[in-house]
């Protein structure tokens, strides 16, 4: 199969590699159609790929802090297998798995006060991979020459973040506008994928067993809300989002945003502003009736066919993060087959189509050369283009947008739900248009 290093959107009429006599059928029969291909510059995240090198220039979340307890965890992120641990003094470490002695996987390491000890010959490594002890030969100073390869970690808002890029390009951890100066009664909580009270639900499940771009593309897709979420198998969200929106697609200083206006019956306008921030963050407001700012999330590739998703949201202290779910259509009795999402059959998925099947259904990795984009896809196209341009900047030795070494970069969250009057002035909610 043809693998190309660049976007292959060619509608060339000849595919000499498969059939030198081929001409396309004027009525579109499948016979002889050229094979399709991925956009490699988009989908790859391994080291030394343009996408992978861009993602490595930013702090990436890898786990919730409360996941890192008394045993090491195997983490794969951006194609790298790593071991994450928390020593008994509370410090997290992230290391290459194979012990620098004779290669035993440190997933079997013993957690101690100052680090992780390989069980084979007892070499002890601290949270930045320094070898503290070789207990079989305590006089040997060779330990001072040994460093278990490591990555730096920082914990913020209940998530563990790592930086996997070149040391001299390590940025300060960014500031996030909506989490600063929050009121006393609010707190920022972290979620990975989580359970609804009645088990795993379609909205939250996110199996995440496909290329990250199929998930990330979706945040700049306001029109699938009208089709998939509102008219294919009933109202999956709330009635307001059934309305076909008027949408503006705009670049921001560090990403792309969509400004969606839905005219309500009384003439007021519901505004939903959705935002992406380079290279892999999104700010997406509630899909319920509530008004207010969005939180922030990261889509983090594990490899080219899977990813993890982490979110931060500011909310009232102690509140149930799922408290508005009673109003959301896909959680109401009568929507769906009524069983845990993990147990759905193919027939269940065919009758109750969700984000999961529309994204996974594009393939383990989408075949971009098959696409025919239309104006509703403009923000998705803008997002892909911006990402590739940022990746080119890094490949050319420049710094990408949103990294700062002198003082932290401020991520301005513009996304949120609001209601405007007929002159499009804010009545209630969060309006980030002028940020």
């Amino acid at each position: 199969m043809a693998q190309n290093t660049e976007t292959t959107n060619s509608t060339s009429t000849k595919d000499a590699s498969t059939n030198p006599q081929f001409s396309p059928d004027p009525n579109g029969r499948l016979y002889g159609r050229p094979s399709a291909s991925h956009d490699q510059k988009l989908i790859q995240s391994a080291p030394a790929t343009t996408g992978g090198e861009l993602l490595r220039r930013y702090w990436q979340p890898i786990a919730r802090s409360d996941e890192v307890k008394d045993l090491p965890i195997a983490i794969t992120i951006l194609h790298e297998d790593l071991v994450l641990f928390r020593d008994k003094n509370g410090q997290c470490g992230l290391v290459y798995p194979r012990c620098m002695h004779r290669g035993t996987n440190l997933i079997y390491g013993k957690i101690e006060a100052n680090g992780i000890r390989c069980p084979y010959h007892g070499w002890l490594f601290d949270s930045q991979g320094r070898c503290l002890e070789m207990p079989c030969e305590p006089e040997n100073t060779y330990k001072d020459k040994i460093r278990q390869p490591w990555y730096p970690l920082e914990e913020h808002y209940g998530l563990v973040f790592t930086y996997m890029g070149p040391a001299e390009k390590q940025p300060l951890f960014p500031r996030i506008s909506v989490f600063e100066n929050i009121s006393e009664d609010k707190e920022v909580i972290a979620t990975g994928s989580y359970q609804a009270p009645s088990g795993r639900q379609a909205l939250l499940a996110g199996y995440q067993d496909y290329n990250w771009w199929q998930f990330y593309d979706n945040f700049m897709d306001p029109f699938h809300v009208y089709a998939l979420h509102s008219s294919i198998n009933g109202v999956q969200f709330v009635d307001i989002l059934k309305i076909l929106p008027k949408v503006k697609f705009e670049y921001t200083d560090d990403g792309v945003r969509t400004i969606q206006h839905r005219t309500l019956e009384d003439g007021r306008v519901h505004q939903r502003l959705s935002q992406t921030v380079m290279p892999n963050m999104n700010c997406t407001a509630s899909v319920g009736n509530d008004l207010g700012p969005a939180g922030v999330s990261w889509t983090v590739p594990v490899n080219d066919t899977s990813f993890r998703f982490f979110s931060l949201q500011a909310q009232t202290k102690g509140a149930n993060p799922l408290s508005n779910f009673e109003e959301i259509g896909m959680f109401k009795p009568g929507w769906g087959p009524g069983i845990d999402f993990d147990d759905w059959t193919l027939q269940d998925h065919q009758k109750w189509q969700t984000d999961y099947v529309t994204q996974k259904g594009q393939g383990d990795i989408n075949l971009h050369s098959d696409e025919h984009l239309t104006p509703i896809d403009t923000a998705t196209a803008m997002l892909r283009r911006l990402f590739k341009k940022q990746a080119d900047k890094v490949a050319n030795g420049e710094d990408p947008v949103g990294v700062r070494f002198d003082e932290p970069y401020l991520i301005k969250v513009m996304a949120g739900n609001s209601v405007l009057n007929t002159s499009l002035e804010l009545i209630d909610g969060y309006d980030g248009r002028t940020l």
Partner: protein, 91 residues
């Protein structure tokens, strides 16, 4: 929609072609047998982005930033025309 009639000069192949009022650059190239990447043909996907060496494009795409439009280094040939009489393209 393309603007009035203009010419394009292709530096690599040496062609000098006319693009009339109801044609796009992409159509003219295809009619001449020149194969270039394309997909949406609506100024959205960026597949047909072509380097401009001289001349002033009339940008009609939805994808480039305002700064990129002002710099005139590239254009989307499926939908954009010319403000100048001639465009020199890296094709």
């Amino acid at each position: 929609m393309p603007s009035g009639s203009f010419t394009i000069t292709l530096v690599k192949s040496g062609h000098r072609l006319t693009v009339s009022t109801h044609e796009t650059i992409l159509q003219v190239l295809r009619n001449t047998g020149i194969d270039v990447p394309s997909s949406c043909e609506q100024g959205i996907c960026g597949a047909c982005e072509t380097t401009v060496l001289a001349g002033e494009p009339d940008h009609q795409d939805l994808l480039m930033t305002p700064q990129e439009h002002a710099e005139n280094k590239t254009m989307m040939i499926c939908c954009s025309g010319a403000l100048s009489d001639n465009l020199v393209l890296d094709l």
